[in-house]
Point group: C2
């Protein structure tokens, strides 16, 4: 692993690191914020999964999360959203290929050799983190935005007991019924829709739900609402009697200004589950 | 109008009053809490509509609302849930007849002569209140529980501009699709389901929504969840992009212990809209 940068931030350190990834067959870069408390021992960690066209960097510089995490003594990890590099398949569209891994393991050509973001996020990067940094594997929470909200919800529901809490900002909530999902799942996973279901938060909510606190924020003026389909997840949550909070935030769009506006609430929400 | 009782409470006065109701053709009783600020001038008012089998008294004595309302300087009005008296039609069931007015104007025998709770709540009682007490007609909000949550939501959506905010505790959210609704609407309104739609919060949400803040709390262990159908309203809210918050509260049931647990949040939510 190679240190790209380390900057003092809010009493702690905002680092960027690169490592050779077996899962993705390429170098992968991630951001990690460690609060001051990490000097004394392992701290809880909040995963932040980013959206389409983002790298590890977008949330790290625009979400305004570090100050709130520092107040709570929580680490933040910002993974990349796909494999990258000259030898990695890509597509001219912003919503397929590099920057658009959709947090699945691709089984179809030309994506299968590198696009294994599910394994990367759920197996390989956790091992890297917990081996190299003072971060407590027993105290994890997860959030994300848009495609990353989809990732956070599906990963959290797929690993009961791993995450104390889950939240999402404007998640792609029902990708098997959306052009943000059907296109990518067709490309990465093939035409058998039965294989898509494990990567759809609404279908996962109907099937198993999440055993812990759940918070979702969605802007009512989000320019992608028709692709995000919060109504399907809302119905599934309430129908399942899933404990949780869904907030439809008047006038907010899909941007990082929306995320930053409610980041304090999300960090404090997770802190309550991680530290309470 | 006759004063039944007036008790000092939280620096203000909790009163109970009876008046001859033209709408209901009988005497009607209501509770009114006036905070200390009402001595100086008209104060904002939060309506609380009660659920099945309740009178004006249940929320007044069990919801714990007065202390929070006093802190905010807001009046609370607690209407009864139906016409009452020896000459008023009734039914042996707890969910039809006296105590179960469902906030509609009945058109069918034997209910039509007295069961006009829609007119009572939306026209007659407001006139009584605003003429006799220092309560500000320009600053109203509304909430309610179960059948009263149904009433609060449908009344709020039916009168755009009248209420600054609306909330509900475990509302009967989709009565046209529930045994809490179909039975009563059949009896009071007759078999034409087209006449039921104006009294169904989910259908109203699909059709027009609410122009202001909205908050709904629902316990996940509510013993009547299958009759309340929060999933239908959740879907309608998110689909409409209605600004609002839906909270599925883990482990809470349908009782006043649930209401009291979250009354502070609801009073403060309405205060923010009324005073902000």
């Amino acid at each position: 692993m190679r240190t790209i940068s380390e900057n003092r931030a809010f009493g702690g350190v905002q680092g960027v690191y690169t490592h050779a990834s077996d899962a993705c067959g390429c170098d992968m870069t991630f951001g990690l914020f460690l609060p001051e408390e990490a000097q004394l021992g392992a701290v809880p960690v909040l995963w932040y999964l980013s959206g389409l066209a983002c790298t590890h960097e977008n949330a790290m510089v625009k979400a305004g999360a570090q100050g709130w995490a520092a107040e709570q003594g929580i680490a933040l990890v910002f993974p990349d959203t796909s494999p990258r590099g000259d030898g990695v398949a890509d597509d001219p569209a912003f919503d397929l290929g590099q920057g658009a891994g959709f947090y699945v393991n691709a089984t179809q050509a030309p994506w299968a050799p590198h696009y294994r973001m599910w394994d990367y996020i759920t197996e390989e990067l956790p091992r890297v983190l917990f081996n190299a940094f003072p971060v407590d594997e027993a105290r994890q929470a997860i959030t994300g935005h848009s495609m990353g909200g989809h990732g956070a919800l599906t990963v959290a529901m797929a690993f009961p007991g791993r995450f104390a809490s889950v939240s999402a900002f404007a998640p792609i909530a029902n990708p098997t019924a959306s052009d943000w999902g059907r296109k990518q799942f067709s490309a990465y996973l093939g035409p058998d829709e039965g294989k898509w279901a494990a990567h759809d938060a609404t279908l996962m909510m109907r099937k198993r739900g999440f055993d812990g606190p759940l918070l979702i924020d969605q802007g009512t003026s989000d320019e992608f609402l028709d692709l995000l389909k919060p109504e399907a997840l809302a119905e599934a949550m309430a129908h399942r009697r899933q404990p949780g909070i869904l907030r439809m935030q008047k006038g907010y769009g899909h941007s990082y200004f929306f995320i930053a506006s409610f980041m304090e609430d999300h960090v404090n929400f997770h802190a309550s589950a991680l530290l309470g």
